[in-house]
Amino acid sequence: MNGKKVVKIPTLQIIPVIGFIIGLVFFMVGMGDFGFWNHDTNTPTEGFFPIIIATGLMIFSVMAFLQNIRKGGVEYRLLNWYVPLGFVGLLAGIMVIGTVPAVIVFEILWCRFYEKLSWKVTIIATIFCLIMVVPIFTWWLTVDFPIGIIGNLIMGY
């Protein structure tokens, strides 16, 4: 769990490939569903602009691919990916047990058990987050955060 593991992925080449695919999809959908020019009214259709951009994207994707074709993979450390992974966990928690409990559990797990911070720091961090969630966003700014499946059961919906 030290996250020091390094993986080399050829993203310099993968990004242009994905770019090209995105361009191709928008080009095909644009052409297929909307067309390019409305000859009856002599005006552009809703496909006009995206088709131009999609074409440009495909060209730049090919250029970027050729530019980077000889370059090696880019190093990724697992460590950095704990952030999105942890975030997915947080979201799952929010969907199930609701925002406030999920935030508490998340902060405690991350600060106390992953970072091995003291309980004092953990609790201060947790309380800071809760102040953001409850008095500021929920009460004052009237944002209703998800209360999760369990919350919905308790509220009877």
């Binding site: 361009g23 959908v29 995206p50 951009i53 730049f60 952030v83 975030f87 947080l90 979201l91 944002v143």
Partner: protein, 507 residues
């Protein structure tokens, strides 16, 4: 100078205990709302509106005007300290503000720069508003779909200045940004496009979660690398004294602030452009001028351009709102709703029928500018304490902040998922030397460009020459566009033929 007389009349209206109190309260709330990620001035004004029912309309608008205005100050705080723009106009403040605070270890000066240039931009905007008054709004009217199309094309060329070292990669990302922005309902036909059968995509991808992800969340992933470093950011100089700008700093921030202020005011007046577009344009314009350090590495000039422009635009957007009853932005629109609720009729007659109100509001903008500046400067030492928090504690807390901002700006988990995906993508992009700033610019400007271009084509029945040459403004802008596009080509030819040797240039 009749307008200045009216302005002084406006000041006499504002200088009552009640109005000054409203102005102060509005400024404080605006700063807080602005600093909250995801909650922009729009939500802030909308939330405060009900509180103002019982007020006299002048007092009410003074409070809301102050809130709207000082919100632009607040947006810079989290942008500079956390790399999370509190509001979309602050995106580019983060681009230079965050490196200045962390890499250059001058957080206090970064905040000061933001505040000082906000103030300069705001005052320029207000002075233009006072001098030109309703005429400023009439000027905005001259920009129809054709003029806006050419103007936006000029603006889009600034992507070229933002792409940095690798133009192909920068353009690739920009084009992806434009395609992502084109998802959703098409305004002209009212038909959905590229929604791929997904109802959430029908609504399009919102800018704020997109930005929080691309800039803020991606930053968090990078921060993991340095979380175990003992020394982070600054430990000394966290006092107001250590935050003071030097005379040299002032020299650097003033010219860009003035330029951006003038430009921002006019962008704020244009239909539908707003503070975000203004700050992007000013930043891109700054690229064309000399900056002491390259933009994007923590340059004072970058912060100054972005902050000055967005405050100036906020002031400029009051011109069409007050003189014509046409809101230049979503927030202006809510203010407009407020006017109607207080029994005023917004529209071309407002300046004539309600001079106390209109000039009182303008006068109060001056005061709230000063109040917001004073408060912001006062809380800098408190804000700087955030930087003393170790990175390993900050990371989980900012993750929650990212969630709150993304959710609050869309009221849906879809926004949060957009934030997460753009965050992961943003991280990968940065890691591969793809700069994301041009993508954000393209995302903001492209939909405006498309909408105006298509309206222009409908109005001219597809006659392209009429779009570019139908009016004096179009012709001037088209000339500018041609010059901008031709310049690099001509320059290359001159270099190749040995008639010109380029000087060493930063950025």
């Amino acid at each position: 100078m009749e307008n200045f007389a009216m302005l002084f009349h406006g000041f006499s209206v504002v200088f009552s205990l009640q109005n000054l109190g409203a102005c102060l309260l509005g400024s404080i709330l605006g700063l807080i709302v602005g600093a909250m990620p995801g909650i922009g001035s729009l939500a802030g004004v909308a939330l405060l509106l009900p509180l103002t029912y019982k007020f006299d309309p002048t007092t009410a608008i003074i409070m809301l005007g102050a809130l709207y205005y000082s919100n632009m100050y607040g947006g810079a705080f989290s942008a500079i300290l956390l790399n999370i723009p509190g509001d979309s106009p602050a995106v580019l403040t983060a681009v230079d503000g965050y490196p200045m605070a962390t890499v250059k270890k001058r957080p206090g000066q970064a905040l000061m720069t933001a505040n000082a240039s906000s103030c300069i931009g705001g005052i320029i905007g207000m002075l233009i508003l006072v001098i030109l008054g309703p005429a400023l709004a009439e000027l905005g009217l001259k920009f129809g779909p054709a003029e806006m199309t050419v103007l936006l094309l000029v603006a889009m060329t600034s992507i070229g200045w933002l792409v940095g070292g690798n133009p192909v990669q920068g353009l690739l990302l920009s084009f992806i940004g434009i395609l992502v922005a084109s998802i959703g309902m098409d305004v002209q036909t009212g038909r959905p496009r590229f929604d791929f059968g997904n109802i959430y995509l029908l609504g399009g991808v919102e800018f704020i979660p997109f930005v929080i992800g691309t800039v803020g969340f991606a930053q968090l992933m990078q921060l993991m690398d340095e979380k175990d470093d003992v020394v982070h950011a600054v430990t000394d100089k966290l006092t107001i004294r250590g935050s003071m700008l030097t005379a040299h700093d002032w020299k650097r921030l003033t010219p860009p602030s003035i330029r951006a202020g003038v430009m921002g005011t006019f962008v704020g007046v244009l239909p539908g452009a707003g503070a975000t577009a203004a700050s992007f344009l000013a930043y891109a314009m700054q690229k064309a001028f000399k900056s002491e350090e390259p933009l994007g590495t923590g340059a004072i000039e970058g912060i100054a351009a972005s902050e000055s422009a967005n405050n100036a635009a906020a002031a400029g957007s009051f011109a069409p709102l007050l003189a014509l009853g046409i809101p230049g932005s979503g927030t202006g629109a809510v203010l407009l709703g407020g006017l109607m609720m207080w029994g005023l009729n917004p529209g071309p007659l407002l300046f004539q029928n309600e001079p106390d109100f209109a000039w009182g509001l303008i006068a109060s903008l001056f005061i709230s500018n000063i109040v917001a500046l004073a408060i912001s400067l006062g809380i800098i030492p408190v804000l700087l304490k955030i930087l003393k928090v170790p990175v390993r504690v900050m990371i989980p807390v900012i993750m929650i902040v990212c969630f709150l901002g993304a959710y609050a700006s869309t009221y849906s988990m879809f926004g949060v998922i957009v934030m997460l995906i753009s965050g992961v993508c943003g991280y990968i992009f940065e890691k591969n030397d793809y700069s994301t700033a041009p993508m954000l610019l393209a995302f903001v400007l492209a939909p405006l460009l498309e909408d105006n271009m298509r309206k222009a084509f409908i109005a001219t029945a597809g006659d392209i020459s009429e779009v570019f040459f139908s009016s004096g403004i179009s012709i001037v802008l088209t000339t500018v566009l041609i010059v901008i596009c031709a310049f690099p080509v001509v320059r290359t030819i001159l270099i190749k033929t040995g008639k010109y040797t380029p000087k060493k240039k930063s950025a």
